[in-house]
Subunit: 218 residues, 2 copies
């Protein structure tokens, strides 16, 4: 659905939200959620071509559950489960593609992550997933395979900071607007893809496949 | 004009683009332009209330010339002056408000700048300035006073990387879209503002005042 891209004014990504992923990148476990922006121009809707690896870039995948925001939200309470659920219009599956070598260099130099996270096609997304098809966003399985080899497969129940807390932290800084996209963090197993690789990402609810898609890297 | 905010899908800010400003913050002079994103939700249109200082935040101003993008632009050449001018629909004056202590901490920890740069009201902007009223964007004077004391006042001729190069670097990473806003960097003289301070920012062309506005901090 092109409209996720058309309607997004900002894309906010939670970093380091699964303990085993924090460890695999030798990062510090955050005391509170932190986040960064990807530009809406980086969204790659289904069937709109390959994910492009920029020259000289070590391209990493990070499969994530995406929330599509339903309305303007400001200063949500950190344990306001009802408010958080009302702020969600629906879901999608997203892959937070990352120029890992550029990000590593930015981290070392204290520079922003925007370039490392913001190239065109760096956010392959699924079609819209209706809210009713995910009874509990903290109980779905995300997975990602590369050339049919499973690399990521974990439950969103492993999130360090749950969705109400994420939306609270974001909305105390920047007003969430209708159509905004929130990526909720990636489980362990991130890694590199190269030209010609095919990523298959999907989401299961109660053991049942809800959405699956392929994405070629070029 | 609310429409600058309504039409912006992304706001891209060039960092460290004036030599004396690089020095005053003890930063390294960049070998190539780098940039970061502010969310469109941070734009504060004229006459829409004060600029808000979040609790515990050391709030800094950075006056900048803003470009409003005219059309989709990708892979612009670095010395394509004509292409760059065609990509500009008009101008505005912007203040890239920055949570300096949060940014300093992010830099130290290798974390993204999005929070330090992205709070609501962190981008006070002027009305739209027509393209014809600025014959040469590299020859205008930007200034900013706090409580009538001049703090920043320099020519855009001092930019380390000129506008074509900026748009080239951005558009090789992320497609520029119609309505996007580009902040071109701040001259020396940045500093702190506190509740009750009034910032006056303006732009002069050929010694003549083109646009001036006041902004209260709360
Ligand atoms: Mg950033
Ligand atoms: Mg991620
Ligand atoms: Mg700035």
């Amino acid at each position: 659905m092109a409209s996720i891209k058309a309607n997004a004014r900002k894309v906010i990504c939670i970093g380091r939200n699964y303990a085993d992923h924090v460890k695999e990148l030798n990062n510090a476990r955050p005391k509170q959620p932190f986040f960064f922006l990807k530009p809406p121009s980086s969204i790659l809707p289904p069937n709109s071509g390959p994910c492009l690896r920029p020259r000289g870039i070590k391209l990493h995948y990070e499969v994530e559950l995406a929330l599509i925001i339903s309305k303007n939200v400001k200063d949500l309470g950190g344990s306001d489960e009802k408010g958080a659920m009302e702020a969600i219009a629906g879901y999608a599956l997203g892959i937070d593609m990352t120029a890992r070598n550029a990000q590593d260099e930015a981290k070392k130099k204290g520079l922003p992550w925007s370039i490392a996270k913001g190239f065109d096609t760096f956010l392959p997304m699924s079609d819209y997933i209706s809210k009713s098809s995910i009874p509990d966003p903290h109980d779905v399985e995300l997975y990602l395979s590369v050339n049919d080899e499973v690399r990521q497969s974990d439950s969103t129940g492993l999130m360090l900071f749950r969705i109400p807390r994420q939306l609270s932290e974001i909305s105390r800084v920047m007003t969430l607007e209708k159509g905004d996209v929130v990526l909720t963090g990636t489980p362990k197993g991130v890694g590199e893809v190269r030209a010609g690789d095919v990523m298959t990402a999907g989401i299961r609810v109660g053991g049942k496949e809800l959405k699956e898609g392929n994405m070629r890297v070029a």
